[in-house]
Symmetry: C2
Subunit: 120 residues, 2 copies
Amino acid sequence: MKPFHIFSHCSLASSSSNPRLNSSYPNDTLQMSVENVVYIGSKPIMNYCLAVLTSLKDGSSVALKARGRAISTAVDVAEVTKNRFMENLIVENVEIGTEELESEGRMRNVSTITIVLKKQ
Amino acid sequence: MKPFHIFSHCSLASSSSNPRLNSSYPNDTLQMSVENVVYIGSKPIMNYCLAVLTSLKDGSSVALKARGRAISTAVDVAEVTKNRFMENLIVENVEIGTEELESEGRMRNVSTITIVLKKQ
């Protein structure tokens, strides 16, 4: 799959290309079944909704991943996509977790969320 | 159970006392099994962690509920309580949804999250 060029901060990658984020999956079954990942940041919600819709053209499921303050944006993206753009979409799984990040020379814990959306 | 007096905005209620929020549960089984609800707002995270810990003294599970920007705080509260204060705690269920709220005379959709924590 070609990378996204329209949104500079809206990365869309096959799940096999990012081993760090894949390690947060509890088992290999889930990892194998999710084809694409959309990383949520601070861009407008609609940018990410479009990324999710484009990603679902090729595959049947997509994982939204966010950290820190972007967690609420990830929930907005999932709900807006499901309710407004794609009625046959279901929330297959939601997982929360913690990641250690280095910030200003020391380690900080940051919360994460992974929302798996699937076409019915 | 007596209501919380220490946190003015940190309400803790038995799940039977709030029919509106209970209606977001998909089935009665989950509703019956969760004894207490902690509503997450804009107070410091530690206030809500203390509310969760106090609530878990009496019961075996607690639901964290949040809307909008408070969603990321709810994930922080769940993760901090689990990792720092109570190691035998598990995230039993995470649900996301949408609620309609009236704001400035018109209806707005707002995202919600419900995180159910359970003692092992």
